[in-house]
């Protein structure tokens, strides 16, 4: 149990996150430079499946911590668990996916271990045995290098910035069940319930995103039901527009995003917002419908591989980022696009 590189595998009650396997890919590359193998840390309850998957994705050993106190995710006992393991076994580096949990556990473990935490890395390079992290700052307008002089170096990896290896079911690795001692002091919170997200596909993990902006409410040919005031009619129109965007997303297996303007106007809940004050995404394909592309929106999507913009204003800044643009009425283009994809993808 002495690998230098550890990867924390995040999951939601046994449901794996693809970003954990991306971290495994980054961990294998670091192990190539630092020597030794990769140790995965899997914690929670009933996680044999996740532990086996970790091996298939590249772990040489898995520290499997199963404890009823870890059944629900709570930051405090999870951080204590990881700090205990790390102070016993002294890894050089612990990688985490930048999920809500990964960021928080890394932050708290850094306090316990008197270590440095470097969140949201998009690049890792080993120099003289130390990992130099590249991370975006000022909403992605600049990149910063960061290094930690303490060990372990705690690094969270931006989702979709690193590539997950192909899983190999024939790989072998040791799964080591461990127990940790968690005290009452670790049980500062109690989880009393959950509610599901309204959207099907998680935005940050999505490989395709279809987003709508303010322009989505501008369909003059729709007649709202009688009795609505002006604001209600606008929201009703926007909801019809987002329904149309949802149909395109469904054909593509995509998540639905939105601009801040659309969220602030009440067209769609905040969890769909892409941008500086929303989610930062980097899908393979980003289709922006009726989004002008303010700098704050760009901060959330500019690293998407291929950007497609549909907007009736040829001067909209979004076209500067777009690989393909259509200047026109999204109410005509989007349904036609949905139909064309449906035919070509055989759905």
């Amino acid at each position: 149990m002495a690998d230098k590189v550890w990867v924390y595998i995040d999951h939601a009650s046994g449901q794996d996150f693809p970003s954990s396997w991306e971290a495994m890919g980054a961990g294998r590359a670091l192990a190539g430079d630092l020597g030794g193998g990769v140790t995965a840390v899997v914690a929670g309850e009933n996680l044999t499946d996740i532990a086996e998957q970790a091996v298939a994705y590249g772990a040489d050993e898995v520290l499997l911590v199963e404890d009823p106190a870890l059944a629900d995710y709570r930051a405090e006992p999870y951080a204590s668990m990881l700090s205990q393991l790390a102070s016993q076994h002294q890894p050089e580096v612990i990688l985490f996916p930048t999920t809500t949990r990964g960021r928080e556990i890394a932050a708290m473990a850094a306090v316990d271990l008197q270590a440095g935490v470097m969140p949201d890395a998009i690049g890792l390079e080993v120099k003289d045995g130390t990992v130099e992290v590249t991370r975006p700052v000022y909403a992605g307008k600049l990149l910063s290098k960061a290094v930690s002089k303490a060990r372990p170096q705690l690094i969270t990896l931006r989702v979709r910035a690193f590539t997950a290896p192909e899983p190999d079911a024939s790989r072998t690795g040791k799964i080591i069940p461990l127990s940790v001692s968690l005290s009452e002091a670790d049980m500062l919170t109690q989880v009393v319930g959950h509610s599901q997200a309204s959207s099907g596909v998680s935005l940050t993990d999505a490989s395709v995103i279809v987003s709508g902006g303010r322009g989505v409410s501008n369909n003059p040919s729709l007649t709202p039901p009688p009795g609505m005031d002006e604001k209600q009619a606008e929201i009703w129109r926007a909801q019809q527009g987002f329904k149309m965007i949802g149909e395109l997303a469904e054909v593509l297996g995509a998540a639905v995003g939105a601009s801040r303007a659309a969220v602030d106007a009440g067209y769609i809940p905040y969890e769909h917002q892409v941008g500086q004050t929303g989610k930062v995404v980097a899908p393979n394909l980003y289709i922006a419908c009726g989004i002008s592309g303010a700098i704050q929106h760009q901060a959330g999507m500019r690293t998407s591989k291929v950007i497609v913009a549909i907007n009736k204003d040829p001067e909209a800044p979004v076209f500067k980022l777009a690989r393909f643009g259509v200047v026109g009425d999204l109410y005509a283009i989007v349904p036609a696009l949905t139909e064309a994809f449906r035919k070509r993808l055989g759905k």
Binding site: A79, R101, E104, T189, V208, T277, L285, G325, E339
Partner: protein, 243 residues
């Protein structure tokens, strides 16, 4: 009741209030309106962080404290969290410390969790709704925004709470608020006032670089009908092999 906001701002850009922190200030002021007590707003930064503090005062905070010390230049997240934890303890009798989600410059987003860990208080991060906060009973119940949906969590006070945008739109400062804020006396605390000594940062930032320029050739797709445009666009997208 004392409710607290901690904020970190550094750098030499003209400091407006970090947009995330406005949500924290709004949340704290709403709790004050519901339960009475005071809201103390704290910022660690240079003299120019005072403008952000005045904005928070104008929104309705009762008092502001600036933590200013030359030794804080280049402070990493852990050093910053130590300063905020010490300041919260020095203010004393705090029921809840509210944080924005992250600073807009360093984008680190770990300060709330680290401060909670240092204080030994529960960390309720990424909170979208406060269902219940009862200073008399010393309890809080919140909804947190996590990847798979919302998690409903209960804890004892005092607690650290970081909020996301769903918590509610920040108010505009009132005319009276702005007048009061412009006259406010904002005390400055140094590390020595907090009983801390400067420490070497663990994490350093050896360089800032510009992101590589992306050369994007935009191709505008045209056609006589929406169907024709859509067919062409689908061909182009499929050629990129991103699906």
């Amino acid at each position: 009741v004392v409710v607290e906001d901690g904020r970190v701002s550094w750098g030499d850009a003209p400091l407006v209030i970090n947009p995330w922190d406005e949500y924290a200030v709004e949340t704290a002021v709403r709790q004050q309106e519901a339960h009475g007590g005071e809201v103390t707003v704290i910022s660690a930064g240079g003299e120019n962080a005072k403008e952000a503090l005045k904005h928070a005062l104008a929104m309705g905070c009762s008092q502001a404290i600036l933590i200013s010390d030359p030794a804080l230049a280049g402070a990493d997240s852990l050093a910053t969290a130590r300063v905020l934890a010490a300041a919260i303890q020095k203010v004393g009798e705090v029921d809840a410390a509210f944080f924005g989600r992250q600073a807009i410059d360093g984008d680190v987003g770990v300060t709330a969790a680290q401060t909670a860990r240092l204080l030994g208080w529960p960390a309720l991060t990424l909170v979208s709704t406060i269902n219940q906060l009862d200073p008399q009973a010393g309890t809080i119940r919140v909804e947190r925004s996590v990847e798979e949906g919302r998690q409903i969590v209960e804890a004892r006070l005092p607690a650290v709470v970081s909020v996301v945008k769903d918590i509610g739109e920040p108010r505009y400062p009132s005319f009276m608020g702005i007048r009061r804020a412009s006259k406010a006396d904002i005390p400055a605390w140094t590390l020595a006032d907090l009983g801390l000594t400067a420490s070497e940062p663990i994490v350093t930032w050896p360089e800032l670089i510009n992101p590589p320029k992306r050369e994007i050739q935009t191709e505008i797709i045209t056609g006589d009908t929406p169907q024709e445009i859509a067919e062409k666009l689908v061909d182009k997208i499929l050629e990129e092999k991103v699906l």
